[in-house]
Amino acid sequence: MISAYFIHLLILIGIYIILAISLQLAVGYGGLLNLGHISYFGIGAYVYTILLFHGVNFWICFLLAGFSAAFFGWMSAIGIRKLKGDYLALVTLGFSFVTYAVLINWTELTRGPLGIAGIPRPVLFGFGTNENMVYLVFVFVIAAISYFFINKIVSSPFGKVVEAVRDDEISAKSLGKSTFKIKCINLATSAFFAGIAGCLYASYITFIDPSSFTFSNVIPIILIIIIGGLASLPGTILATFFIILLPEPLRFIGFSSSIVGPARQIVYALILLIVLYYKPRGFYGKLDLE
């Protein structure tokens, strides 16, 4: 029983790792405070689910979940072309509300607040993933590939240009860099992996509804990248374990479920305050929060 519970937590950690390192690419490396990241997660989950129910092959659904999220990431970059800082954060926050409104109101496609239930787990190379242990392996393989790919981006010369644009956009332009193109690619790539995480989430939980993709759901992910440290992938992974596991003992104290939820938010707030006070750069951050 305990092991089933820990496997469940590890699966969530795997999904959150993908979600957090993809947000780290946009926020920590690119300096784009994207509060709409959860929307790409939701878009990935819905695109995957809807296509799967139309009989499309799992791998095609999986990739299209990522690419559709990437498309919206690219479109977001067009929308925020001339914005930065707080204004960019507000517009991307608006995007998450718009996405939620579409998911809840386009009932013919999404079933609105009723959500979509009975999402089947994939069969991979002849192996069913109904066993959580098998699904855990699958999630961690995808998380490892995502990490490898994002690490490859940030370690490459392209990654250095992304950081250059974050530090000083005008200066990057003066060196001949097309900063708009860089931001578009950054947000699209970040959204792609969030879409993939959404796909994994939908097929794991087997049920999705718009409430899973609201602004409040992005808070733990932002917390992870702040505590892990901006522009640090290893820090992000460590912080994902930390943030997912730390509130779990609350379940065993004997609080009612109506208290556990808010108590978790209180724990998150306390962690954030303590970390910002004693370690403002998080675990392995390379930048200050500005």
Binding site: V161, A164, S171, S174, L175, K177, S178, T189
Partner: protein
Amino acid sequence: MLKIRNIQKHFSGIKAVDGCSFDVEKGKITALIGPNGSGKTTMFNLICGNIKSDGGEIIFSTPTGERNIVGMPIEKISNYGISRLFQQSRLFKNLTVLENLLVSEDNEDQKFWKNIFGLNKFDKSKIDKANKILGDFEIKDIAHLTAGELSFGQKRLVEIARNILNYHTVLVLDEPVAGVNPKIREKIAKIITQLKKDGETILLIEHDMQFTLGISDKVIVMDAGKIITTGTPEEIRNNPEVLRIYLGK
């Protein structure tokens, strides 16, 4: 090389640059001087595309022929060959000195898939090129420091190195020795002198008259957005109008 023709820029009715025309000749150092608020930096902003002009032309000799670069994006102007040093430090503060230089070397780093598949790397030749200029500037020991950790003078040297490494046919230097100590000032003077010997084309703004007149081939004096006179350093030194508006004599 660079021809400015009747360029104008107004800010809410204030004429920051008012119908200025001049030429920057190939292989020469052209200096733009004038009191604070005379429009020098606005002129640089117009040339480099940081602001759009209200009228006039800026004709630049690009590898594909002469082009009016007015209204072009900053990055396009840079890629045509204008490399700018800003008045304030604009290094990428969280990148190391070496990374700051490597980013400036070429634009292959913008090609996503090429970089992901390892077809573009910071290879030995690029690193050697960056290290060589750091060696020439005697700042190789700070290569691993992030730009945010540097002193103002070190930042200035790194920025000049970065501008030289960036593809260019004209170097546009906005107050390269402002605020630096005499030792760094002397070093920057030597660097600019060497650039002149190497045949570089330079457009320079500098408040330090001794420095400017000692290094330039041609001096343009601005006041209240207008060009009041142009000449050799010797002519400018003896021009009573310049002494009046610039030196207050």
